[in-house]
Every structure is written in C-alpha cells, then in structure tokens.
Symmetry: C2
Subunit: 203 residues, 2 copies
C-alpha cells in the first residue's frame, strides 16, 4: 500500500505540536512536512525544523519553477509546501503530515484529494484560545490579535474537514489524533483502487 | 457527542460477519442494524437475528408508511432498513453498523451522508470469492453464480467508499476494521458542527 496524507489545521494555541509529540510513537512511520515561509522566525524557531525560512526572492523563484504543492500569502508573508520531499515520503509508504492553514487544505485537497484525510484542531472556545495565546506570550499583542481574528474566520470553515478535534483535554485529543492517523493510512488512491479492481477481476 | 454510522458492504463470502465478531469487543458501544427482507430465509438463518423476514405485503405497507431509511429490490426481493431503531441508537450515542449493498450505501449517503463512514470488504480476488462461496455450499449453484455476478458489478463501485478492506488475512482485516470503526465515531454531524461553532464563538 502506498502512502497517505494527513492535513492538520487549526489556530496557533490549539495544541497541534503537543498532540503530534504525544502521538508520534503510536502512529507508525510518518514524515512531517516542513513548510517554507518568508516570514521572520519567531523567538526559538529553528530553520529546517519549524520552517524553512527563505527570502521573498527565493520563494518566488520556487513558485516559477513549480516547486510547490500549494502556497499562499498570509498577512503579507508567503507560506508553501515543496512537492519533492512529499513525493519521496509517499513513495516509501509513509504517512505525510501537513500543518497548514485552511487555504492550504483547500489547495491540497483540490490537487490530491484522494489521498487526504483532514483534521481541524481547536481549543474548546474563543476565550480559551485567547487565554492560551496571551499566556504563551511569545508574540506581540498585535500579532496575537491577528491570530485571534484569523481563528474566528477559520472556525467557520470546519465543515470542510473530515474530522474536528476539540482540544480541551490533551490526552483525549491525542488519542483521537492517533485513531484518525491510523485510519487515514488505510485510504487508497484512485490509482491503487484501479489496480485493485483489475487485479481482483483477473485473478 | 452524538452517534455515527458505519456502512459495511461487500459480497457474501467477504468475511463481514467474522470481522464484526472479531472486532465487537474493541469498538465500543454499537448497534448492528438488522435489515428487513422479503426473501426466503436460508438454512440456519434466524428471524430477528440475521434479518427480519416479512411478507411482500407487509414490506409494501411499511414503504407506504415511510418506515424505511432505504430500501431496494435485489433479484426480485425487497431489502430495507427501518428508520426507528436507527434513530434511537444514534440518539443514545451508539455507532450504528449497516451491512447493506452498494445501492443501500448510495441511498443512506444521500440521506444522512454527514454521519456516514463506509467500508467495502472483499476477498482478495474473484477466484478466491468463488472458492469461498462453493466451499461454504449452503447455497444452490444458481444462487452462487448470481452472487458472483453481483460481486463483479459491485467491485466497480468501490471508489464510492471511504475505505476498502481486502480480507486475505482475517486478523489484519479485523484490525483495520477496528481502526476505521473507532475513527468513524469521531465524525460530527452538520448539526453538531453548527452547535460547536456557535458555542466556540460565544464562550
């Protein structure tokens, strides 16, 4: 069986990183896709770990070269997913996990939807999101406000996702993520389905 | 969280009953929907366990009364799913499992698709299906041939299903079924999503 894709979206403050960390030993062999961005690194963010940080010029060259599976502009910065590492991981049968926004989800689903399972992770309420973002306090207030406004828009799009995880209790949320990840691996691409039908009929 | 629906389809001989039996202690609280049919019971089949066996007249009265979630005619016999026990099970938060054919799957998906996860279970090949049906030998050859021809048609529709389980190894197939069942419970209905959004924004 080939690989599969799991798209994770949700506001910062939803607990996505913690959930992936908790689940990582229980979801088999996966590849976490690292996005490329032109925004400034936040304090503590590392190039090649949290993001590939590049200049606007480099990013636009890659766009021209067709190197992105999806890309979008958010608050004046580019964010994108390079195709090549994803292809390689899928070929080796891995589950590829994307942490992208709702725009990215739409683009990936439009391109390779047959391989995609998607999950939106959110804190239980808007006020809890605010509490988490302010208590984390790695960002300026203006950035936090932008994130909150973003989240208000994003929550309206949750119907587009296969699953919603409400992260009010980290252990339950992590277990739900494990269950969804394991099921997402069982998805077959259109190509695999066609092969299966031909093989089934002729044997 | 409310209930959810898991639709199981696949030819007789696919091993659906064995898989459900193997999984039954590991998928939480579920309700197995028993279909109603006008066909003759096969040897060993029990009324109210394998099917609700009714007369053509009774079935047609129930159709008029709007009692079916879905029904169809297969080889001159009616098959249908009564709404009421399904509603009751969903209300109490159970996973409702349907063992219905591809026509039934289409009808259920059209009516309450937001709650549905679907799985097609099949033996690995056509010749293996034949081997299983003939070795089971509870049916006349003419009936087996009809089942085989049916399966040849059904396999073409597998792209309509969320998941395919190839039952060449019963333990792996059962584990896949457990994984899919557990994920299917995490689906939210449109109604639940709307509630969630309103609650999220106002708290």
């Amino acid at each position: 069986m080939g690989g599969a894709i799991l798209v994770l979206s949700g506001p910062s403050g939803a607990g996505k990183s913690t959930i992936i960390e908790n689940a990582s030993s229980k979801i088999g062999d996966y590849y976490f896709s690292i996005s490329t961005t032109t925004r400034e690194p936040r304090e503590g963010e590392r190039d090649g770990v949290d993001y590939h940080f590049v200049s606007k010029e480099e990013f636009e060259e890659d766009i021209k070269a067709g190197a992105f599976l999806e890309y979008a502009t958010v608050h004046g910065n580019y964010y994108g997913t390079s195709i090549n590492p994803v292809k390689k991981a899928l070929k080796s049968g891995k589950l590829v996990i994307f942490d992208i926004d709702i725009q990215g989800h739409r683009l990936v689903r439009a391109k390779i939807g047959d391989l995609v399972t998607s999950v939106f992770i959110t804190p239980p309420t808007l006020s809890e999101l605010k509490r988490r973002l302010y208590s984390r306090s790695t960002d300026k207030n203006s950035i936090i406000e932008r994130r909150v406004n973003n989240a208000k828009e994003e929550i309206k799009a949750i119907c587009e996702f296969d699953f919603i995880i409400i992260n009010d209790e980290i252990e339950r949320a992590s277990n739900e993520f494990i269950t969804i990840s394991n099921a997402s691996r069982l998805k077959l691409s259109k190509k695999e389905l066609k092969k299966l039908i031909v093989n089934w009929e002729n044997n």
